[in-house]
């Protein structure tokens, strides 16, 4: 029986990785467990220049979910390479480096420099962050812009490129097909859903940014439906995410058509969630007498 999951640039010993933005650059979680137990690590978004992000409050709790508007806070390309990747290179776990920007040139620069370090397995294009006003999300909702950006980043990068799709669109399959034709090596889906919470006492939005991105168990059915729809249209590898917090959730994502999964918000409530899920998944597949975890995805959904 094997949990081995081989995706472009990411030879993973199991299909579970922490999701970008929910795990920093790994240092904090390394104090709690051995990061080599993970299938891969999706790093926090890197931008060309350092970003402070939005003012606080940056998070708000919602029913079975949370809104966040961090605003892509990160130390910038130079420090990500000199400090974060320098620390991460001691790990065997493959790295998926999430990149964001406000112009196509930003993305090209970050993609070229991060991939040239040879320390990352693949890039994840963040074209779906709902919390940055200057752009980002525009690339994620316009299929032509998404395709052009994918093409340019593919040219600039020396490693496989995954595109992280936004659920804040009418038909996500249009975006999926556009970036596939532009040469994407894989898809990550879904990013957060744009949402808002109002403090009825103060009559003000709870988040300083006004709106934010909804994550957590509340969005899982949307992620499942979108992966299911996209899987019918493409054979591209899919890293599925959106509210995963149990082993059964992982199985559901694989059935819907994901090849691997990313765990996001659950890391905030239980820092041990990823290694715990990996262990449970291993046990479950043994009980099922499965030879490979990929069988779940191959068998798919009975309809």
């Amino acid at each position: 029986m094997s949990l081995q999951t081989n995706l472009p640039g990411l030879p993973m010993k199991n299909p579970v990785m922490p999701a970008s933005g929910c795990f920093g650059f790994g240092e904090e979680f390394a104090k709690w467990y051995d990061l080599n137990t993970l299938g891969a690590i999706a790093l926090k978004a890197t931008t060309a220049e350092p970003r402070f992000g939005n003012e606080t409050p940056r998070v708000a709790e919602t029913p079975a979910g949370m809104l966040n508007a961090i605003g892509l806070q990160n130390p910038g390309l130079e420090k990500v390479v000199s400090e974060k990747l320098a620390w991460l290179k001691a790990l065997e776990t493959p790295l998926l480096a999430n990149i964001a920007g406000t112009t196509m040139e930003d993305y090209e620069k970050v993609a070229a420099e991060l991939s040239s370090t040879n320390l990352i397995g693949a890039l994840e294009l963040n074209i779906s962050c709902p919390n940055v006003k200057e752009g980002g999300i525009a690339f994620g909702t316009d299929p032509d812009l998404a395709a052009e950006l994918t093409k340019r980043v593919k040219k600039a990068a020396s490693c496989p490129v995954y595109v992280k799709l936004s659920p804040n669109v009418t038909d996500i399959t249009v975006l999926a097909k556009a970036v596939e034709q532009a040469g994407a090596d894989g898809l990550s889906m879904i990013n957060t859903l744009s949402g808002m919470k109002i403090d009825t006492r103060s009559k003000k939005p709870l988040l300083a940014n006004g709106s934010g991105g909804l994550s957590g168990p509340a969005i899982k059915p949307i992620a499942i439906r979108m992966i299911y729809e996209v899987r019918k249209q493409t054979e591209l590898p899919i890293i599925g995410m959106g509210g995963i917090s149990t082993c059964d959730d992982i199985i559901e994502f694989l059935m819907a058509g994901a090849d691997a999964v990313a765990v996001g918000t659950a890391n905030f409530t239980n820092p041990f969630i990823c290694p715990e899920l990996i262990e449970e998944l291993e046990k479950w597949t043994l009980e099922q007498g499965m030879t490979s975890i990929q069988d779940i995805r191959r068998q798919g959904v009975i309809s």
């Binding site: 795990f23 920093g24 904090e28 402070f52 606080t56 966040n68 905030f268």
Partner: protein
């Protein structure tokens, strides 16, 4: 630093909407300094989803217990308030950096200033300072007499002055009014409470040495999610920052923008 199901020894209302909970578990032994906090999951279900950061009020490492004090403000703290002895709560901790006691000596005076639910972490601090032989003066500010707690407990560590906004207990006014009226002098200042109170103290004592403890909405509580970030006073508009959960919650006076 552990994730543990701690057992509730007691959970009682000590002031209006204010509860004191005593917990026992192995992580008590990991506490390094007063001012550290626990990140508590009020429910094992998905609603409410997130943990609640609550300061450790006091710890008895020999007896293996600690206490927290919380106000019932929302769904999470209300759930906590209904828990009974013998039940367990999922706790992550101890987290963050507490108050440093290394730079104050026996002959010196510590002024402790607490406001509302900012008071609890200062109790463990007051006890540690008193144990060290430091002269402790405490000013506690509350909205009204109903909200007042721990006045007697603090008296075991030194003089205590109380202020309430409506004058229903102690002196009418804010903690800064009491400091003026009593003409309190000190070598080190330690404070925790509403941001306007902390700001008023920094403005009033621009050269004082000491520490403040901050409160902020948190996600993970361990430094990974960047929810509880604040600017520094040396780079108030720039990209320099401190995380309240893992760099704090205790900071030297004037280090972060309030």
């Amino acid at each position: 630093m552990k994730k543990e199901n701690m057992t509730i020894c007691s959970n009682q209302e000590i002031a209006e909407n204010t509860f004191e909970m005593e917990l026992t578990g192995a992580l008590v032994q990991d506490i390094q300094a007063p001012g550290q906090f626990l990140h508590i999951k009020p429910s094992h279900e998905n609603v409410p989803l997130l943990r609640r950061p609550l300061s450790i009020c006091d710890a008895d490492q020999r007896g293996g217990t600690l206490s927290i004090i919380y106000r019932t403000e929302g769904i999470g703290t209300n759930l906590l308030s209904k828990k009974t002895n013998g039940e367990t709560v999922d706790v992550l901790g101890p987290l963050g950096n507490g108050f440093s006691l290394s730079d104050i000596n026996q002959e010196q005076t510590a002024l402790i200033v607490g406001g509302g639910v900012g008071v609890p972490p200062l109790y463990g601090l007051a006890r540690e300072l008193a144990r060290k032989g430091v002269h402790v003066e405490t000013v506690l500010g509350f909205s009204d007499a109903e909200a007042l707690f721990y006045e007697d407990a603090f008296k075991e560590t030194g003089n205590v002055y109380v202020s309430t906004v409506d004058g229903s207990a102690g002196q009418k006014g804010f903690v800064t009014d009491v400091i003026d009226q009593e003409d309190l002098a000190f070598d080190r200042l330690y404070a925790c409470g509403p941001t306007p109170m902390l700001k008023a103290l920094e403005n009033k004592f621009p050269k004082a040495e000491g520490f403040i403890s901050l409160e902020e909405r948190m996600g993970c509580g361990i430094g990974a999610c960047f929810a509880c970030v604040c600017h520094t006073q040396t780079d108030p508009e720039g990209s320099e920052y401190r995380k309240v959960c893992s760099d704090g919650p205790v900071f030297p006076l004037r280090e972060v923008v309030l």
